[in-house]
């Protein structure tokens, strides 16, 4: 390992697809900003994609001091090989001290590939990031054991210190129109034969992409909803609230909802302001996926359902009556 002091600056990877950024990159800029200030170092946004100069400018308006962009047709859609090569090339050239990546599927695909090639440490799916007072290292905090245990992890003798960070846990900062910073274009190209995977087709099972990770309100149903048809009650409530529909694993297994809606350990990890758990008993695998929610509202007929242990507001009752009543109550409030 070369001298640790050669490594400077905090980098945030801004994930894009077809030239559009995912929110988590901007969220990370907001959490990294005070850390960069504390260290007295610049905060650099790294954007890899196709037609992304606008994203780089946005990243600066969201708090980055400068941006490094790698633009090319091979980055329009994510591939492990192309993105890993681009990121590793950048790290080797610029030597950042810290690299943060959003813990999306693609971020968690690329992160370990990059850290392994660089032979450095990577902490997965963090929900807290601080600077260790004693050493100045980044202290990455993350849930393990399905959220039953929190661990704080450091990478003392290798650089960059890398972490993937859970989407939705941190909020985006204010967009400062007119904020400027240097945008460096790096020409890194990956030959087609170096990319060993091919996107054959993208199949949408639902009309619109379900963006559970970035949803502010989620209305989620479990086995207790009883049937696919009965999800209509939840759809009404979701429509009233402008919420995204979620569900537990049992619902996907029963074929009532597509997998894209699934919340929990084998589905999406979410962090909404309001999470409605309707007819969800609260298996630990489900709870692991909702621990980042600000407020949980549970409806269940079983008074002893574990979901009530994590709910801020719980209603014990028949969801066929309670859910329409909630829809009506929210509607009345607006009127």
């Amino acid at each position: 390992m070369s001298n640790l002091n050669d490594y400077k600056n905090i980098w945030v990877f801004i994930e894009t697809e077809c030239g559009k950024a995912k929110n988590v990159g901007y969220e990370l800029l907001n959490v990294a900003k005070p850390l960069a200030d504390q260290k007295g170092c610049p905060l650099v946004a790294v954007v890899i994609g196709k037609d992304i100069e606008g994203v780089a400018k946005d990243a600066i308006c969201y708090g980055a001091d400068s941006a490094i962009i790698v633009d090319g047709p091979e980055y329009e859609y994510y591939t492990t090989d192309a993105f890993t090569k681009a990121m590793v090339t950048l790290v080797e050239k610029y030597k950042p001290e810290t690299l943060m990546i959003g813990a999306t599927n693609n971020g968690r695909d690329m992160g370990p590939r990059v850290s392994c090639r660089l032979q450095t440490g990577l902490t997965a799916d963090c929900t807290g990031i601080d600077i260790d007072e004693e050493t100045g290292n980044i202290a990455w905090t993350r849930p393990t054991f399905g959220g039953n245990l929190m661990a704080t992890i450091m990478c003392p003798e290798h650089r960059p210190q890398m972490g993937t960070v859970r989407p939705g846990v941190f909020k985006k900062g204010a967009y400062e129109e007119g904020r400027t910073g240097e945008i460096i274009k790096e020409d890194i190209h990956v030959a087609p034969e170096e990319i060993r995977t091919t996107l054959v087709e993208r199949v949408s099972e639902i009309a619109e992409a379900v963006n559970l990770e970035e949803a502010e309100i989620i209305v989620s149903g479990g086995r207790g909803v009883g049937s696919a048809e009965n999800f209509g009650l939840l759809e009404d409530l979701a429509a009233e609230l402008g919420a995204t529909l979620g569900c537990s694993r049992a619902v996907v297994d029963a074929g009532w909802m597509p997998h894209a809606h699934q919340v929990g350990q084998s589905g999406k990890t979410v962090a909404p302001k309001l999470y409605f758990a309707i007819g969800i008993s609260g298996a630990i695998q489900h709870l692991a996926g909702i621990s980042g929610s600000d407020t949980v509202i549970a409806v269940n007929k079983d008074e002893d359902a574990p979901i009530f242990d994590v709910a801020d507001y719980g209603i014990v009752g028949n969801l066929n009556e309670v859910v329409p009543a909630l829809t009506a109550a929210f509607k009345a409030r607006k009127a």
Partner: protein, 267 residues
Amino acid sequence: MNICVCMKQVPDTNEIKVDPETHTLVRKGVPSIVNPFDTYAQEVGVRLKEQLGGKLIVISMGPEQAKEAIKSCLAVGADNGYLISSRNFGGSDTLATSYILSEAIKAVEEKEGLKFDLILCGKQATDGDTAQVGPEIAEHLDLPQITYALDIVEKDGEIQVKREYDAGYDMISTRLPAVVTVVKLPYEPRYPTIKSKMAAKKKEIPVLTEEDIPSIKLELCGLNGSPTRVKKTYTPVREKSGVKLAGMEAADAANEVVKLLEEAKLL
């Protein structure tokens, strides 16, 4: 198609409790299981093997006790199993673990006299929840990877993998050999029969230490090979105490919750 399944024995997180006094995890008496995501990797592997022929080998790094988990994989279709175990491997983070496994995979290929076409892992272990070991094995072996798989089919000597995507799935193809991590399948893993359980029980599980993996560099194993350090662990404290409304008319309960949300400025 020769397949290697990398499996981890994990505590059954359904059974884990937090001691209310000490705020530490109570692990005593908690049963060990095959990591649930690895049971999917194993099942899709067995189906591919049944369809295409070849061997399915399961490997696991862990203590002696993990032989039990290997045996439960043998009972549902794995041909052979190897335990990777040594004091020198203890304390490994994901980088060191994936290094040891990747070296063990090469050693197992030697022992079995075959080359693996496909290396399967669960998307993550339910104790560590990192989802890093699969991609890191792929990196150590310089193989293509597809993560978050929902199904795998073989087509003209390549594989096509349904990969989880926000609105459905991406169909991604890759040549072999490759590493795939599995999140879920359209079917449930099979159950063992009494006969298959008995046969698995009798089977010898070879233990591979560094002595059996000639190419392994010990400085890359265990704590020495681990860039990350756990500074501290703690159990999350729930600060909020919830309001539970029971025995109320649906409309009253709904109105009350909306009122409470409003008072708490959550709307």
